[in-house]
């Protein structure tokens, strides 16, 4: 696990997390305690490259214009709302399955200290939101020549 991400210190959050992961695939242990706030939608993957922190959110069926993405004091917040696609009550229709998430959502990722909030790129394609946060130059590994 990368030391840049805060390890979880709350046992109950860990238990909740385990429960929420029961129907997901391959959980990796050692997550940031704050990234569990949003109870599962959108599903998040977080990775790092030498120059950026990459966040991938599986958020199908959203209007990208209505997504609210903010970076504040080292926390990246993804918030928005997904409308239900089910027919309204008045319509003559029967609902057999209602498994897809609907309603407001909010997920928070704590960024490493070298993340640069001024350089964040976000794109939305095929229902996947990709956010790339640049890391400050000083954090890049540098090779020091010995003369």
């Amino acid at each position: 696990m990368s030391p840049m991400f805060r390890p979880s210190a709350d046992l109950f959050a860990e238990l909740n997390r385990m429960q929420s992961l029961l129907d997901q695939v391959f959980p990796t242990p050692g997550t940031s305690i704050r990234s569990m706030a949003g109870a599962g939608f959108p599903v998040l993957n977080v990775g790092t490259t030498p120059g950026t922190v990459e966040i991938q959110a599986l958020a199908p069926g959203l209007d990208p214009a209505k997504l609210e993405i903010t970076v504040d004091r080292g926390l990246l917040v993804i918030a928005g709302e997904r409308a239900s696609d089910l027919p309204n009550q008045g319509e003559r229709a029967s609902v057999y399955a209602n498994e897809r998430f609907s309603g407001r959502f909010r997920r928070v990722v704590s960024l490493p200290e070298d993340a640069d909030p001024a350089r964040v790129d976000a794109s939305y394609r095929d229902g996947v939101l990709r956010i790339s946060v640049a890391r400050r130059e000083s954090a890049l590994p540098r090779r020091i020549e010995v003369n």
Binding site: S2, D23, V43, T48, A59, P60, G61, N98, E99
Partner: protein, 132 residues
């Protein structure tokens, strides 16, 4: 009325593998609803482009199979992963009054919308009462 589309339970282990191929897949969440003329099925398939989606009807079984395209930089090192299985699969049993020849599929922003019309004979008819 009977359930026209039987959904396989969501509690099926998401990583249940097919015995022969040992391929892992996610069971996508769906909404299914029916009106007088058709059944609509919505499935969340984030990351799936149109050419990676397969919708098949085999007898009375409707099979959805899709692969998500996992883009991103080459030197990415995963720190935290909730979704690491890029394949989706789910199947449904259709009932006979559905017209499988005229299924419409639309994939937009990772949401698949299938419209399965009912055969003409199976649609509800309003019977006029003659005054007499």
């Amino acid at each position: 009325m009977n359930k026209a589309v039987q959904t396989s339970s969501r509690s099926t282990p998401a990583e249940s593998a097919r015995p022969q191929e040992q391929q892992r897949y996610v069971v996508p969440p769906v909404d299914v609803f029916e009106n007088e003329s058709s059944i609509t099925l919505l499935a969340d398939l984030p990351g799936v482009p149109r050419d990676q989606l397969q919708v098949r009807v085999d007898g009375e079984t409707l099979i959805l199979e899709a692969n998500a395209v996992t883009g991103g930089p080459q030197d990415l090192e995963l720190v935290y992963g909730e979704a690491q299985c890029p394949a989706y699969r789910r199947q449904f049993t259709l009932s006979r009054e559905l017209d499988t020849g005229r299924i419409e599929a639309q994939l937009r922003d990772g949401v698949l919308r299938l419209t399965i019309p009912k055969a003409e004979a199976a649609r509800p008819r309003r019977i006029e009462v003659q005054a007499g």
